[in-house]
């Protein structure tokens, strides 16, 4: 075996939650994309129209597809293509609960700098997700 003999508690907790989040995200991605491809639920942009749009910059795509930047897509979750984004969002957010879960371990063991660094990483991802930094707000 390569690696340390005993898994540190922070690593073990992070790994457990990361496995749950990743499996949930990938599972959602496959199921929702299957629904989208098979046409079980109507997409917002019809399949046949995509080849006319996917060579355009994302801004033009949003305009022609009548979609909004930022979180505007959540209003159109009844459409299969938009619904598929839920799997992607799950993957992009699943590190946050893992970071929050290890923070108490660092606090209790007096590792305040690591505690603060975890908090900063959570803040960066949450700010990016909110659209406050990075656009789309």
């Amino acid at each position: 075996m390569s690696g340390t003999e005993q898994v540190a508690p922070d690593q073990a907790r992070y790994a457990r939650l990361l496995a749950i989040g990743t499996n949930a995200g990938l599972g959602m991605l496959v199921v929702l994309f299957g629904i989208y491809m098979l046409g079980v639920v109507d997409p917002h942009v019809p399949h046949e129209r995509l080849p006319d749009l996917w060579h355009l910059p994302s801004g033009d795509f949003l305009e022609l597809a009548r979609l909004e930047a930022g979180w505007g897509w959540t209003a159109r979750l009844r459409h299969a293509d938009i619904l598929t984004l839920l799997g992607i969002v799950t993957l992009a957010f699943c590190s946050v609960p893992c970071l929050l879960a290890v923070m108490p371990i660092y606090w209790r063991s007096g590792q305040r700098m690591l505690f603060a660094i975890c908090g900063m990483e959570v803040l960066v991802i949450v700010l990016a997700a909110s659209g406050i930094i990075g656009g789309g707000h």
Partner: protein, 314 residues
Amino acid sequence: MRRLLPLAAAAALLLAAPESALAAGAPGSPGADLPWWAWPLILFVVCFFLGIVAVPAGVGGGVLFVPIVGGFFPFHLDFVRGAGLLVALASALSAGPALLRSGLANLRLALPLAVVASASSILGAMMGLALPTKVVQVALGLTILGIVALMAAARRSEFPEVARPDPISAALGMHGVLHDPATGRDIAWQVHRTPVGLAVFFGIGILAGMFGLGAGWANLPALNLLMGAPLKVSAGTSSFILSLVDSSAAWVYLHKGAVLPMIAVPSVIGMMLGAKIGAKLLKVLPAATVRKLVLALLAFAGLRALLKGLGIWN
């Protein structure tokens, strides 16, 4: 020779199938009469083969995906970079739990570097989506050619010698113990040059966000050769850092509408399935030969991106 047959098939598929679709984006162009479902299918197959060769070549899927799909498929570079980030993110997330449990990824080593690279990846993503496509194409081409040179020339050190940790790494507990199966000994490791490492990871984050490449090609030498982490810890921690860096940048692409499920999902699934096969073929395929072939393919794709950006090869 027989072992190289799948590689030849993969290379032919990569270069021939997408080539037929080269200018298929606009109506009336050569591949425009293909049904809509042909594109995700071709993309899935190409990504499957990219996943197979990425493992023995020791490169991340994202770094192969963006220049190859961006150069030879009809999709706009915005969507290719968005999908590339997701390919790298999904791969890093999937590998994360096992790497953390085995100790090959080290949280204390990763977190300070990941915070800096995550913040700068947002900046990189914003720059990449704001700059004109031709400028990004040229920068992508130059970056890919630089990566090829780095990967061809870079040395690696199994257990770099670190005489003394720097004050930052000592304060943050950026050290650990690695079991070496070759000697059966536990080897304590520590790192140095953390301030320089943080600055380098700031730059890596910008490149990762701007081009959607993933950044294992840069993380690994930075951790191993610059900071002095053992090679295995560097490889595992590099992958784990990607899971945080790409999470931040992916949100920018999502908010700007640059994540198209029809492009991103077949790519992610194809690459992950291919990587599983690649891992199983690791003992069968001649890794050195595969690596040379992949580097040649990457150089070709980098040149294509550069010439496309300069308007010489459209």
